[in-house]
């Protein structure tokens, strides 16, 4: 194919990216460096204060740290829960396979708000989970599962698990079964063949699934807002409040830009790692 035609195939996506992402993000830059004065509005005074406080003020630092930690733990949880499921679905010859795959995707068909309210009902002080734990005698007083890290972790893991599973299924299906057979015939037990052959060869899927879930988690708004309440903030809820509650657009812009830069940096680094892990495959 001539390279000219290759580029023309990319044009619609490039246009969309420029109009829908590069330009708006670019417009955040000027608005993020002006001071906002309550009751007055955005002034023309130049300031980097909104960036500086993100990395110096302990309130904002905690929110940044919490957001990144949440992203990391949710990613790990979906990976640990999702890999066995994906492995089973990629390898099974059961005639139920298509139905089971649909079952994995099924939660996505349900409205996000409804699903999140479901978790509130389950995780509340006198919700089903606490009632069950107390009835079984596992805990004496109800666990706090809402408006904290645990609540967000549970809710977000559930919501993003299908994405991880779908990406992993594709990656695992790409590994020829004969390569695993070869390892076993050569003297590797099932577990050893898995660790030395299957797992490294599914690295590209692990990397892309993890990037996807991480990015979705740290930018999720609805679930953290509903399960975290008004006080347990993450970056996305903070940005939302700056723009719509406090009308502090400069602060919101600075925080949104910082989040975007963090995500881009992360995607770039994991891309490099992924190429090293799976590039030889």
């Amino acid at each position: 194919m001539r390279s000219g035609r290759g580029w023309s195939l990319l044009m619609p996506a490039v246009l969309l990216l420029v109009i829908g992402f590069v330009v708006p993000v670019g417009m955040l830059v000027p608005s993020s460096v002006h001071r906002y004065v309550p009751l007055v509005g955005i002034t023309s005074e130049f300031t980097l204060a909104y960036y500086v406080r993100l990395v110096t003020d302990s309130y904002y630092l905690e929110i940044v740290g919490r957001t990144l930690a949440l992203g990391a733990v949710v990613t790990l949880a979906t990976l640990v829960i999702g890999y066995p499921v994906a492995f089973f679905l990629a390898r099974t010859r059961s005639r139920w396979r298509n139905w089971l795959t649909i079952l994995v995707v099924f939660p996505l068909l349900l409205n996000l708000v409804v699903r999140t309210f479901g978790w509130i009902a389950l995780l509340a002080q006198n919700g089903l989970v606490n009632q069950a734990l107390q009835a079984l005698g596992l805990v004496e007083s109800p666990l706090r599962l809402l408006f904290n890290f645990a609540g967000l972790l549970i809710g977000l893991t559930h919501i993003f698990l299908p994405f991880m599973v779908l990406v992993l299924i594709g990656a695992i299906q790409n590994i020829p079964r004969e390569v695993e057979d070869a390892a076993r015939v050569l003297g590797a037990s099932w577990g050893s063949a898995f660790v030395r052959v299957t797992l490294p060869l599914s690295a590209p899927g692990i990397v892309s699934g993890s990037i996807l879930v991480f990015v979705l988690t740290i930018s999720a708004l609805v679930t953290p807002r509903l399960l975290g309440g008004p006080t347990y903030q993450v970056m996305s809820t903070l940005i939302y409040d700056e723009f719509l509650a406090r009308l502090n657009w400069p602060a919101g812009s600075a925080e949104a830009l910082s989040l975007t830069v963090m995500v881009l940096a992360l995607v770039f680094v994991s891309g490099l790692l992924g190429r090293r892990a799976g590039g030889r495959a």
Partner: protein, 369 residues
């Protein structure tokens, strides 16, 4: 272990996939150091037999014995057999060296000992300098050699090869055949070779096992299965033959006479169990039919006037279709060095009685093919 025990012995192996009988009561012995081919069309069960020996498929019934030990229920990774796949199945994330060393490391062979063994094996398959390469950087033939080295370095009790040459182009395939055979002679490893390519099986094997629909049709030396096929399937699968149906009219120690359904009679060499009156199917290989210009008979016992209805030059041979006086058509392949006969030419077809293959016949009126 006694020296008399076969290197590999299959006893009444059977495997079904749902309603399909993939392997039906297959029994076989391979002597130590033997090169045994399983030959058959795709879907005849030959690969399933191989995978049962490797332990990747569990038989429904029957036994697999390796040098006298029953390994039917032994775990795959404890069998110490080698397996080379059609797709090579190299580990794409490991270097050539690590691929070959994989089996030794699983056996906890110390690096100090493993390194020279891997290097020696890579030398043997002429991949010595390429140990640091990755599989995707190799050609098909090179990948093939790595797969062989990887399977052989652990000194397996038997090496199983599942159509290892069929992904190579024709020229490379011829080259690898010779290399494989020389490797086997040098190492003395018992090899079980699965193929659908009859030429490959005949060239490489000490003995050939012809399979069809999950059953063994015939086991024998390459020359035996080619010259004396036991069934019509074997005759048709190995080489190109003309099939004619008839009835035995005379039989003695010197040979038999068969009256063909179409009216002609032909003479064949002595055949067992060919009593007069018995229906038989005769097969005559294309290359055993001699085509001569009219009036130049060489005095063979079977000599019939014929007309050339088709001629094509196929490089090594002239390919003809000729019609006998009774309307029956025969395929003939004659040496490329003979002067060709034009379409429509009158000719003589002749063949020696010993070249007539007598197969079990169908009762008169049965469908001929």
């Amino acid at each position: 272990m006694t020296s008399a025990a076969p290197a590999l012995s299959l006893r009444r192996l059977r495997k079904t996939f749902g309603p399909v009988v993939a392997v039906d009561e297959v029994s076989l012995d391979a002597a130590p150091g033997e090169f045994l081919s399983l030959l058959g069309p795709s879907g005849c069960g030959k690969s399933t037999v191989l995978r049962m020996v490797a332990g990747l498929v569990e038989p429904d019934s029957g036994q697999v014995l390796l040098a006298g030990d029953d390994i039917t229920r032994t775990a795959v990774h404890r069998r110490n057999v080698g397996l080379v796949f059609q797709s090579y199945a190299l580990f794409p994330h490991m270097s050539v060296f690590d691929n070959v060393a994989f089996g030794l490391r699983r056996r906890s062979v110390a690096d100090r000992e493993a390194r020279p063994r891997v290097e020696r094996m890579l030398e043997l398959v002429r991949m010595g300098p390429l140990g640091a390469r990755y599989p995707r950087e190799l050609s098909g033939g090179q990948q093939q050699r790595v797969a062989l080295a990887r399977a052989l370095v652990t000194e397996p009790r038997v090496l199983l090869l599942d159509e290892p040459l069929s992904n190579l182009d024709a020229l490379l395939r011829d080259e690898m055949r010779v290399e494989l055979k020389r490797l086997q002679e040098r190492l003395g490893t018992t090899m079980i070779f699965v193929t659908h390519d009859q030429a490959e099986a005949l060239i490489l094997s000490d003995r050939v096992v012809v399979m069809e629909a999950g059953r063994v049709e015939q086991v024998g030396l390459p020359e035996d299965v080619y010259r004396r096929p036991a069934t019509a399937f074997v005759a048709r699968f190995l080489g190109r033959a003309n099939f004619l149906d008839g009835v035995v009219t005379a039989s003695d120690a010197g040979g038999i006479v068969v009256a063909l359904r179409e009216g002609l009679s032909l003479v064949a060499g002595p055949a067992r169990r060919a009593a007069p009156g018995q229906p038989v199917r005769v097969a005559i290989r294309q290359e055993n039919v001699q085509l001569r210009p009219e009036g130049q008979s060489s005095g063979l016992a079977n000599s019939f006037p014929a007309t050339v209805v088709f001629h094509a030059f196929a490089g090594q041979a002239h390919h003809y279709v000729i019609q006998l006086a009774d309307g029956c058509e025969l395929q003939v392949a004659s040496s490329a060095s003979t002067p060709p006969l034009a379409r429509g030419a009158r000719a003589l077809v002749e063949w020696r009685p010993d070249d007539v293959i007598i197969l079990p016949g169908e009762p008169p009126g049965g469908g001929a093919s």
